[in-house]
């Protein structure tokens, strides 16, 4: 067990990396070479696919749009979830358990159910094809998640700290910002990470709610895949570029990922 134990995670990681390697491999090939046949690595190494993405506005605007709505959503979700999570973790109030359960059901609501009504709702209020529409729509599952994770982290902080602060004459807002938030800083970081993550990877709603002005990168990719025949190299390069932001943020929260995935409840 001791000597061969490391083999299992190693094999698993190799399995995880193979498709990513293949994507990377394809992204450095020319279209001719891709269609020419099977090869383990690019023979004519090219950066053309990446160059096209960085120079063609329909491509790089996709990235800007995606990052814009993801950022709006993350800020919005975390800031409204903070006081709510505090209320759930510290107080009992009329209907609190039902409310918590109802919030949770929205995390479980299949986006496929909401795609069409969302399209009509956001068209009706004139937000269709804006970043705000996607950011608000993603609140549907991100706010419940944020409340849930934050509540888990906040319940780990003893109440005595709150009481001591009030005795020392702190007002609630001052206590919350100056004392409480630094205490759960890692929890806030983890929550922001998860909001970022779920907003970044979701595509059904993002695609449904946009057409031109706020079109996310994932929608640009699907359109390329379906309209211009088989530009696999370009598609692969775009795919590689969507993985990078995730890989960067994940490094920052590496010590808390496990706890975060357990929704703060380990």
């Amino acid at each position: 067990m001791k000597r061969t134990g490391f083999l299992i995670p190693l094999l698993y990681i190799v399995f995880l990396m193979l498709p990513i390697y293949w994507l990377l491999n394809m992204s450095f090939k020319t279209t001719n070479e891709i269609l020419g046949g099977f090869s383990m690595w690019p023979a004519e190494f090219t950066f053309d696919n990446y160059a096209k993405i960085f120079t063609d506005p329909t491509w790089y605007n996709g990235y800007i749009n995606s990052i814009t709505y993801v950022a709006i959503n993350t800020v919005l979700s975390v800031s409204v979830a903070l006081p709510a999570a505090y209320a759930f973790s510290r107080y009992r109030f009329l209907g609190d358990k039902h409310l918590f359960f109802w919030l949770l059901t929205n995390r479980m609501a299949p986006p496929a159910v909401f795609a069409l009504p969302f399209l009509q709702l956001y068209s009706a209020i004139g937000l269709f094809d804006t970043h705000l529409a996607v950011a608000l729509a993603h609140c549907l599952f991100n706010i419940p998640l944020a409340v849930w994770i934050l509540e888990g982290f906040m319940s780990g902080v003893p109440r005595e700290i709150d009481e001591t602060a009030y005795l020392d004459g702190y007002s609630f807002p001052k206590f919350f910002v100056k004392i409480f938030m630094p205490l759960i800083a890692s929890g806030i970081g983890v929550t922001a990470f998860f909001c970022f993550m779920f907003s970044w990877v979701e595509m059904l709603l993002a695609k449904t709610l946009t057409s031109v002005a706020a079109k996310p990168i994932v929608a640009t990719m699907t359109r390329t895949a379906s309209t211009s025949g088989y530009e696999l190299g370009l598609l692969a390069a775009a795919g590689v570029l969507t993985i990078i932001p995730g890989a960067i943020v994940i490094w920052f929260v590496r010590n808390y990922i496990a706890k975060g995935f357990a929704l703060g409840r380990v």
Binding site: L16, W22, L35, V80, F101, L103, N106, M108, L140
Partner: protein
């Protein structure tokens, strides 16, 4: 922890309530509305009662996609949960490699869902994809756009690739919360590897594994983008699971009544599972 009773806490919850209600209640009411009405265009609607529900519940199409959904969910749970636990048990407990492993393993979780589909599409292509080419080179005929069995195999292995890490991370978090003293006691009693797993590690992982099973269950019910990009529900209808069928009916065929009735049934099913999940979690919390 005993909490104080304070109804003013409602004010802190209000912003969340308003935002989520805006996104959840209005669309849900729209769906309910469609599910009981018939339209002939021009925004003219007629009340139809439960006609659509009866139609959906009796249609073979719905039964088939529901069956495929259960097959998919059952298979991935049977693979991902044991595999995730095995990997978490074999992970190093401390040292330089821990963060490296965690970051590499969490990577698939951060790939946008349609990129996952596109990536596996490229990876499984029978002529130029690494997996498709290798399987064909072994002498097995493999083509996921034509053969139902290959399509299912690809969809399932894609989901294993995408989500097993979630189970690993959860199980690992559970394992790390076990104090060293437990293991020392086991060593003094010269307990076998199996006994350590059965009586120390498994009970400590029970709670996170409940989260894992139920999260995976629900997410596999919601899954849409990856199989849609990979196979589009094909070949034929063989991999058309519930959500793909639903979007096809709503946005593809604009069959509003049917789609809405399906949505409601679908939503009630997830709600039921959600309730089971919530009560299981809360019981765990009270203990």
């Amino acid at each position: 922890m005993n909490k104080t009773w304070n109804n003013k806490a409602w004010f802190m919850v209000l912003p969340v309530l308003l935002l989520v209600a805006f996104n959840a209640v209005i669309p849900l009411m729209t769906v309910v509305n469609y599910s009981v009405q018939e339209t002939f265009g021009n925004n003219l609607f007629f009340f139809e009662g439960v006609k659509w529900f009866r139609e959906v519940l009796h249609s073979d199409r719905f039964h088939d996609s529901l069956l495929r959904q259960f097959f998919f969910t059952g298979t991935i749970l049977a693979i991902e949960i044991p595999l995730g636990v095995i990997i978490a048990l074999a992970m190093p407990r401390q040292g330089f490699w821990v963060p490296v492993c965690l970051v590499l393993m969490a990577l698939p979780l951060l790939v946008p869902w349609n990129v996952v589909g596109a990536m596996w599409n490229i990876f499984a292509l029978p002529d130029i994809g690494l997996m498709g080419y290798s399987i064909n080179a072994l002498g097995i005929d493999f083509n996921f756009t034509r053969q139902p069995a290959s399509a299912w195999f690809t969809v399932i292995i894609m989901d294993v690739w995408h989500w097993t890490s979630l189970v690993v991370l959860l199980a690992y978090a559970g394992l790390r919360s076990i104090p060293d003293a437990y293991y020392q006691a086991a060593r003094i009693d010269s307990a076998s590897r199996w006994a350590v797993f059965r009586y120390i590690q498994l009970p400590k992982m029970k709670r996170v594994l409940t989260i894992a099973v139920l999260l995976r269950f629900m997410d596999s019910f919601m899954i849409y983008t990856e199989p849609f990009v990979l196979t589009g529900g094909g070949p034929g209808n063989t991999t058309t699971i519930l959500s793909i069928d639903l979007v096809k009916a709503a946005l593809g065929e604009f069959n509003l009544g049917i789609a809405a009735a399906m949505s409601i049934i679908y939503f009630l099913m997830t709600l039921l599972v959600c309730w089971v999940f919530y009560s299981a979690m809360m019981r765990g919390e009270d203990e």
